[in-house]
């Protein structure tokens, strides 16, 4: 049992949990993830580690309420417990002094990006950060990110804050010599970033989030095509060279269980699982 010691709402439907898990906190590194199962009937879902406090023995993750499991998770309160958390999983990010680094965090993945930015700064990099979301209300960690960044930009899909879309990146890259780009966020966003950085030959690292079950290399559901080869994101990744990734294949595989996911979410809400009493 893993106890939730703190809970915060960062934006509508985006929640932060800090959980007591001292052994995971001891070993966690930026870029790694955990898999949790809420109760014995639950499914196993992966979430990226967004922070850890080795002294307090806690791990932090931030999630977006998109389906049954994340909505159910969002109902848990401080003091409640999660049945099982496995982690840290996946390979840690490569953190060293690359020089001038461009970090782009989109949506809920702004949270783990903050952890990366911290680590990159500690390693001596100059970090330019871009955070993005669909609309301005979904942005969070602006102040924290700004404080750590050499330069800081905001983008929204609808232009309600900062730049509209990621088109401005091209100019930004032309004006600055970046040695590395790191992108974390929705697959379409990472794909766009890679299309922009590729002609400039900037090594671009992306975090792939295919559907996962075991997270330890046993089921193959997380298979992705990278450089024409089959890779398992949970053990070979989750970070890969974005210029080699088959994003369309990934998007297709992420949608695999859409009808079942909708059914599960709908039934749960109908049966009052969401706490609305079946209304």
């Amino acid at each position: 049992m893993y106890k939730i010691v703190a809970k915060k709402e960062l934006a509508p439907k985006i929640k932060l949990f800090e959980v007591y898990a001292p052994e995971i906190a001891e070993k966690a590194k930026p870029g790694q993830f955990i898999i949790l199962i809420i109760d014995e009937k639950g499914e196993r879902i992966p979430l990226t580690i967004a922070g850890y406090d080795r002294k307090k023995g806690t791990v932090t993750f931030v999630f977006n309420e998109v389906g049954k499991t994340t909505k159910q998770l969002g109902l848990l309160k401080e003091g409640d417990s999660i049945t099982n958390i496995t982690g840290p999983l996946g390979n840690p990010s490569e953190i060293k002094n690359f020089g001038n680094v461009l970090c782009i965090g989109g949506g809920v993945m702004i949270a783990p990006m903050l952890l990366q930015v911290k680590a990159l700064r500690e390693a001596g990099n100059a970090v330019t950060t871009v955070i993005g979301a669909r609309i301005k209300d979904l942005l969070f960690f602006e102040e924290e990110m700004k404080a750590l960044s050499h330069k800081f930009y905001v983008a929204t899909d609808d232009g309600s804050k900062g730049y509209e879309g990621l088109g401005f990146l091209k100019e930004l890259i032309e004006k600055n010599r970046f040695d590395r780009c790191i992108a974390m966020g929705p697959v379409v966003m990472m794909k766009t970033v890679c299309e922009i950085t590729k002609p400039f030959g900037i090594p671009t690292i992306v975090t792939l989030t295919p559907i996962m079950v075991d997270g330890m290399g046993m089921c193959g559901v997380c298979r992705v095509t990278v450089g024409g080869q089959m890779k398992f994101a949970c053990v070979d990744g989750p970070e890969f060279d974005g210029h080699l990734v088959d994003f369309d294949g990934l998007i297709n595989r992420q949608r695999m269980f859409l009808p079942e996911e909708r059914l599960s979410s709908l039934l749960w809400e109908k049966l009052g699982g969401c706490g609305c009493g079946g209304k």
Partner: protein, 470 residues
């Protein structure tokens, strides 16, 4: 005439195993074989000749004293029969169900020459079930030695080593990466062949021996083996991480929706109980036409599970012929009785998807058998121009599994073969001091009983190592 001679009457026919009827069981996940009654068990046991030099014993990888336990059954001393078996095998309810007996203990039984061999596995299962119903007694443990052993993996290898070491008085902690213990016994072999309550009973027994289970610990990521030995206070480590890395065909279209590795399919169905979706959260989509690629036990289990999930038609596609199929004969028969179709001498060459990225068709090529390969089986070769197309909604790829690689990647100095298996001597010692290994991680995909046999040997070696260590 021979009939006048007073020869002892040997019953040639085995007592048949009561089973669920095929038309009923094909749509439920309850156990297929129902088990002997006391009378049936005694009757079957009475057929045994009690051979002075029994041929059955060397066929058993852990050398159970088979005639002795059968004699005890015949005399109705079930309690003592279990004790006899447990001298060698701590998981009889499981082995009695899943051992390939026809290739092991039963293969050499003298009665098999002129009739049916003794159903040794079914008798083993009978007494184990009898004991479980009555309540298992916990054996006495040796006094505490003050030594600590870490076991990695809670499959049959890990569970067996843990039990043996705990009985010898060592403090034992099992680290298991999944959220439930049992290894393939819970995530692979389906409920209808091995009810999960039986695995749970074995795990409870091991807990009662004082073994601590830590679930959700992927060793190599959370602690490495050197850390377990140097920082976490363990005196020895046993690796029983199994062969769980799925193989794919490597043909175009394999990443389409609806194509599962057998491991994914079985993990969803067994470990995550997606047959009870949406009560359980993990989804599975099955469709009407299911094709399973492969010819082993894993293919049979996948096909029979798919049928039980409601598929209209399940077809096993295998690149050799029936004679070469590695699955147990009993399971092939069970599958066919349930209505599963086998298509031999065919191999997939590509998958074709619909506009939503879901698999729609599978192209195969016909095969013919050429000369025998290293394994002694005739090598299948494609017949030029013989491609044909099948309509499919779901494909399950069951063409083999290789060792889990995380430990090997994260343990410096651990000797590994080019197949990724861990190198050990005959007592299970690896190239690192105090580190032992056994089961599928050493042999590659094998059997429950061979994993247990290897881990028993390793447990013995670990005990000697610990007792001689300062």
């Amino acid at each position: 005439m021979a009939e006048n001679k007073p020869t002892p009457k040997v019953k040639k026919k085995a007592v048949p195993m009561p089973k669920q009827k095929p038309e009923v069981r094909r749509r439920n996940f309850n156990e297929v074989a129902l088990g002997y009654t006391e009378e049936q068990a005694i009757e079957e046991a009475s057929r045994c000749l009690q051979c002075p030099k029994p041929q059955c014993v060397p066929g058993c990888p852990v050398e159970i004293d088979i005639p002795a336990f059968i004699k005890l059954i015949r005399e109705g001393k079930f309690d003592e029969a279990v004790k006899k078996i447990k001298e060698k095998n701590s998981l009889p309810a499981i082995c009695g169900r899943v051992c390939p007996q026809e290739e092991q203990c039963q293969m050499n039984c003298v009665l098999g020459k002129a009739g049916d061999p003794i159903n040794i596995g079914r008798l083993e299962r009978f007494v184990a079930d009898w004991e479980r119903q009555k309540g298992v007694t916990i054996p006495e443990k040796a006094p505490a030695t003050g030594k600590k052993v870490a076991i990695i993996g809670a499959g049959p290898a890990g569970l067996t080593a843990a039990a043996d070491l705990a009985k010898l008085g060592h403090e034992v902690v099992i680290f298991e990466a999944l959220h439930l213990p049992g290894g393939v016994l819970v995530y692979g072999i389906p409920e209808f062949r091995l009810p999960k309550s039986i695995v749970q009973a074995e795990v409870d027994y091991i807990k009662k021996l004082g073994v601590e289970l830590r679930l959700g610990y992927l060793i190599g990521r959370i602690h490495t083996i050197p850390e377990l030995l140097k920082e976490e206070g363990f005196d020895a480590v046993f690796i029983g991480t199994g062969a769980g890395l799925p193989q794919f065909l490597g043909v175009p279209g394999e990443n389409l929706g609806g194509i599962y590795s057998a491991n994914e399919f079985l993990i969803r169905v067994n470990l995550m109980k997606s047959y009870a979706f949406p009560e359980y959260d993990t989804p599975i989509r099955i469709g009407r036409h299911v094709v399973v690629i492969g010819g082993g036990n894993v293919a049979m289990d996948s096909a029979r599970s798919a049928l039980r999930l409601g598929a209209e038609e399940v077809c096993i596609v295998y690149r050799r012929s029936r004679e070469e199929m590695p699955a147990r004969k009993e399971e092939i028969e069970n599958a066919e009785e349930e209505g599963i179709i086998c298509k031999f001498l065919a191999n997939p060459t590509r998958f074709i998807g619909d506009e939503k990225g879901w698999v729609k068709q599978m192209e195969c090529i016909c095969m013919e058998l050429g000369s025998p390969d290293e394994s002694g089986r005739r090598r299948p070769v494609p017949v030029k121009g013989s491609e044909f197309i099948m309509d499919v909604d779901t494909v399950i790829v069951a063409i083999g599994r290789t060792p889990n690689p995380i430990i090997q990647r994260t343990t410096e100095g651990l000797a590994v073969t080019k197949w990724g298996t861990i190198v050990v001597d005959e007592d299970g010692r690896t190239s690192l001091e105090g580190v032992y290994a056994g089961g599928d991680i050493v042999t590659g995909e094998a059997t429950v009983i061979s994993a247990m046999g290897a881990s028993k040997k390793a447990a013995k070696a670990i005990h000697e190592y610990l007792m001689n260590k300062k």
